[in-house]
């Protein structure tokens, strides 16, 4: 599958339709991939498309270190295109500035599967997010690598774990999250990996006054993870990079998916499917529910 990708990238760079192509190249270890940034047609042969292409490359569009002036060709799976759409909605990049090289994606390997050296895609080795994916073919693209495929019905309820937590008592949930968040070391890898955490100055950087503590301490851990989940409410597209990046294996996707579920139920909105739509928390309906307000 790498050949059509390389050919297209080479063509785009030769014709100067894009100034840069952001894609995946061979990783430092066998069976791994890593982001690469190519600006000449000769480099196009470095591009690969394998089960190890897990990164969400949209994250590089808002980093000044990796952004070159001009149009960008970006290699994107279905989940990655959703991130691109949110960036367009939020005016971080214009649609015209992107040439989306879409990937028809069967799924990628989970962090655990890659660590164990697995190379086949099965229900066990697939990343969790892929098991519930509805965009195996990206919603939009300028060129598609592979054939269009329909997304299969998820074999299980995507909200299974969330519903299980919702059915517990508040005290049990508090204990669960205190336990999980106790491992947080405030490395902010989650923030760095997230394509939608692009604030030049994150709220946690502000120290006069300090709103969110930086030290790895129960109180600040709760504030950080809760507020990041809230700042992503109505924006998170479920790429799971935060959870993959977390060195302490905190189930961050539970928080993000819970909020995505709330936004869908309360406002009928799913992030990243239509870049012309208004983001859920940036707009309102005079008829929004207010059953919680006396």
């Amino acid at each position: 599958m790498s050949q059509p990708l390389q050919d297209k990238a080479r063509e785009l760079l030769e014709k100067k339709e894009v100034a840069q192509v952001i894609g995946y190249g061979e990783g430092t270890r066998a069976g791994r991939a890593r982001p690469i940034f190519i600006t000449s047609p000769q480099e196009a042969s470095q591009l690969i498309w394998t089960l190890a292409c897990v990164n969400n490359l949209a994250v590089y569009l808002t980093r000044k270190e990796t952004r070159v002036p001009g149009r960008v060709g970006i290699v994107a799976k279905g989940c990655d295109v959703r991130a691109l759409f949110v960036l367009i909605q939020e005016k971080q990049i214009r649609r015209e500035e992107l040439f989306i090289i879409g990937l028809s994606c069967p799924g990628v390997l989970s962090k655990k599967a890659m660590a164990e050296g697995k190379q086949e895609l099965t229900e066990e080795t697939k990343a969790d997010k892929c098991k519930i994916c509805l965009v195996h073919t990206p919603v939009e693209y300028d060129f598609l690598v592979g054939e269009k495929v329909d997304s299969p019905e998820p074999p299980s309820d995507p909200y299974e774990k969330i519903k299980e937590l919702e059915s517990r008592s508040p005290e049990e949930r508090w204990e669960y999250w205190q336990e999980e968040l106790s491992r947080c070391i405030k490395c902010y890898a989650c923030r760095q990996a997230c394509p939608l955490c692009y604030c030049n100055r994150c709220i946690t950087e502000k120290s006069i006054p300090q709103w969110i503590e930086k030290s790895p301490h129960a109180r600040g851990n709760l504030a950080w993870n809760l507020m990041r989940a809230f700042h992503l409410t109505g924006r998170c597209i479920g790429c799971g990079e935060c959870e993959r990046a977390c060195p302490m294996e905190i189930p961050l996707m539970l928080l993000n998916q819970k909020m995505a579920k709330e936004v869908k139920e309360q406002f009928g909105y799913v992030a990243g499917m239509d870049f012309r739509a208004e983001p859920a928390l940036a707009t309102f309906d005079p008829k929004d529910h207010e059953d919680f307000i006396r």
Partner: protein, 154 residues
């Protein structure tokens, strides 16, 4: 004068004469004016609420609610203009969506939602302000000190 008070639970703090600390984030144009009216009308209501005035509920960052708990509040009240009456036209509509989702996140993390209350109180509703404060304070009296946050603040 506290009538109809019930004290449940037997935590140390209660034994030492604990009273709830409730932080109220209110909008300047409606609820704050309503609270002022309650005052000029000499209405009597529970004194455990501390009012923080903001121009609009749309200015209230959900982070303020967390900060209030971190700083020792046992309950938080957020109150503003009725839909359609916002001095800035739509601030309260944005707040409604924001808090409609934020409270579900708090609930998911195990925070008792009875500790976070919301109301629309207009500038003319002095009596409603007094009633809302009384009801919220009574609820927090019953729930007791926010043990969870006390423990993680050590």
């Amino acid at each position: 004068m506290d009538s109809g008070l019930t004290l449940e639970g037997s935590s140390e703090e209660r034994a030492k004469g604990w009273e709830p600390k409730i932080t109220a984030f209110v909008c300047n144009w409606c609820t704050y004016a309503g609270a002022d009216l309650a005052g000029t009308s000499r209405l009597r209501y529970r004194p455990q609420v501390r009012v923080i005035k903001l121009p609009c509920t749309g200015r209230i960052d959900p982070l303020f609610i967390l900060k209030a708990f971190e700083r020792g509040s046992d309950g938080v009240l957020v109150s503003g203009c009725h839909p359609g009456d916002c001095h800035y036209t739509s601030g309260n509509y944005h707040a409604r969506r924001r808090f409609g989702t934020f409270r579900k996140l708090l609930e998911f993390l195990g925070i008792d939602l009875r500790r976070v209350q919301f109301s629309w109180v207009s500038a003319a509703e002095g009596a409603k302000w007094a009633q809302v404060v009384d009801e919220v304070t009574q609820k927090i009296w019953e729930l007791g000190p926010f043990e969870g946050y006390r423990r993680i603040s050590d």
